[in-house]
Amino acid sequence: MAEDIKVIVFKLAKEEYGIEVDKVQTIERMLPITRVPKTFDFVKGVINLRGVVIPVIDLRGRFNLPENEYNDQTRIIIVEVDTTQVGFIVDSANDVVDLDRGRIEKPPEVVGGVKARYLDGVAKLDEERLLIMLNLAEVLNRSEVSQLENIED
């Protein structure tokens, strides 16, 4: 039953997160971002990725974490889910690991402030390292976001 998957590891605040490698198109250094008015706060704007205009989301903002200044380590991870392309701004991304799918456990209620429904599960890499697997479809779910916004209003 063991099925190995490759996972891109990136950092956000103090936690390490993982996205399956086949959902990731490229990882870019910071690019000039053009602000798009009248959209969610965490949508930082759009970038020109080799001729294609792609919206970028600050993942910290998306998870309601305090936002950071961007630096040398900041990366934009371009993911594609159901033909929707989006860039995620993350603190850093510098690892690829092989993971046995069987080692991904159901997520605990709250992990580092990130709501459980954004998570696919948690994988234990070794004694010290926990990897939080993202549920991309939920992260990109706009309707849920607009509902949230309405509640907050």
Binding site: P32, T34, P37, K38, V46, N48, V53, P55
Partner: protein
Amino acid sequence: MDMNQYLNMFIDESNDHLQSLNEKMLELESSPADLGIVQVIFRSAHTLKGMAATMGFEDLAALTHQMENVLDLVRNEKLAMQEFIFDTLFKSLDALESMVQDITQGGEGKADVTAIVESLQAIVRGEMTPAAPAATVTATPTPSAVTADAEVVQESKGIQLDEFQQSVIEQSMSEGHQALYVEVFIREDCQLKAVRAYMVFDMLERFGEVIKSEPSTQDIEQDKFDRSFSLYYITQKDQDELKTMILGVSEIENVTMTRLDAESLKEMSAPANQSSPIAAETVSLEATPSTSAPVVEDKAVVAPPQAKAAAKSPVAAPSRTIRVDIDRLDVLMNLFSELLIDRVRLEQLASEVKVPALTDAVEHMGRVSSDLQNIVLKLRMVPVDTVFNRFPRMVRDLAKSLDKKLDLIITGAETELDRTVIDEIGDPLVHLLRNSVDHGVEPIADRIAAGKDETGVVKLSAFHSGNHVFIEIEDDGRGIYRDKILQSAIKKGVVTQEQSVTMKDEEVYQLLFAPGFSTAEVISDISGRGVGLDVVKSKISSLGGHVTVYSTPGKGTKFSVQLPLTLSIISAMLIRVGSEKYAIPLTSIVETGIIKSKQVRDLHGSQLIPYRETHIPLLSLSRVFEVPDFDEREEEETEIVVIRKGDKLAALAVENFIGQNEIVLKSLGKYLPDIQGVSGATILGDGQVALIIDPNAFIK
């Protein structure tokens, strides 16, 4: 899996073949005797069959096979084309089209085509069972019709033949076969007439061919006949021999045989005298052949312009084009914009380094790349022909269902438009054409009463003019009556009585495009489907174009559609607001200017500025878009862009103008589908993304 790579090719080519089949069939319809066209049709059908069979689409292959059989007879002059053969073949084409459509959408191209296959087979067998509803009329005549027929037969001495049957008989006579008119009488006490008749038929068919029998074979099989039946028969066998053989069947009372020559055939098969008292009843039965003949003649008369246009195409040089997936072109375009960005960087570097040789090289590269850019853009241009080519068929079917006579004259089909526009423009044009055919061109009787030619003319033309392409649809029909529109508009409360008096004709015509507005008094199956011209208008304006109507009551109507050459590249004014750059499409800009801040008046919370003789609202781009680092209220003078939506104006306050530029339109991606006031994005020379402003969103 392996087949998949051929699937696209198959779909493209099938569509091509279907298109050419449709075109050629129309051509053939206007000159049915041209066997050259039949050859082309046959080859096309044959190729299609082969491809379909290779790809494993059996229904498709089977249907084309049946079509081929019919066409084969036609090209070998064993069968003359006729109205209902055309109808059946067109129906087959429609079926093929929907099958290919199904395959395109990932289906298996399966369809229930048994009805069509049957009628095709019937044509091949020479059983002229026209279109299904008509067939039931002819095949199972009501008792009264039978007697009517019988009497007609007596009057004209034989069974009536249609053109095709007649020509088959004539053909075989000229080939040395003998044609016989056979009458068989069955004994009165016969128990199983149908069986005896069947035996006679069975025997006859062994030695020749039964062209037509009266009553029809179907009726005979079902025992729907009296004591005798008669038939046309083609054979090589000796008359007397045949007679003995038929009499050899038990319970046959008598057989009479008449050998036919051309003259007696004509006499026998001539339709009954129209003045005969029962003829009125038969008229309905022979309606198909009798109306078809004049139509064909008419078409032949009008054919020359069409035929000329068609004659040109086979002479034209063999196609020197290749198919390119549109996505690949997009990739090419994207890569190219990358190159342009690098060029800008190189130019900057060269100006810093100041080495003449480098500057020269970079300049040269700049020239080459701008030429390249033009070519890349031109690659996306497609002749409007790709949209127009489906119209002749559509107009034909429409005219037929409305019982009108129509000529569609297409000019300027070679005019090129960007692929993005081409894809969108088809539906609006279909609407306008339908409108012209249905509401514009009058029924034949009305045309004659108005002293016009029976055949209406609809002209579809396309041409370039400046940075636009015009597509016009013009008919010589009844035109638009201003009063009628106004009456209807007043009734619906769109305009008031007072307004209506002062309205210009053009304004009145524009009312046609108001939602829910239809002047059609009778809702036919062509119009009155709940979609009106308002849909056409909104579609065309979404493409950045507009429609104008010209009309002379009693003389005709013209719809003129103006379209931008391309949607993916537009001229825009680049402006700056704080650190942000935006593009405003030139088409919606009236002018640019500067106003002093003291000219701005506040009125109920909104701002107005004087413009010409009136005041127009001033909108602050920095506030609408919440630009962080600019506010024009802090400035003494503000640059403004006056924008337009229809006849409404407004001014946008900006920081300054960068200049006019050709920009490539890009979408913001799926994640950000609709941002108010933003219609898309573009990539500037420096690689930055600039948002394109949608002025329509600013003017309510």
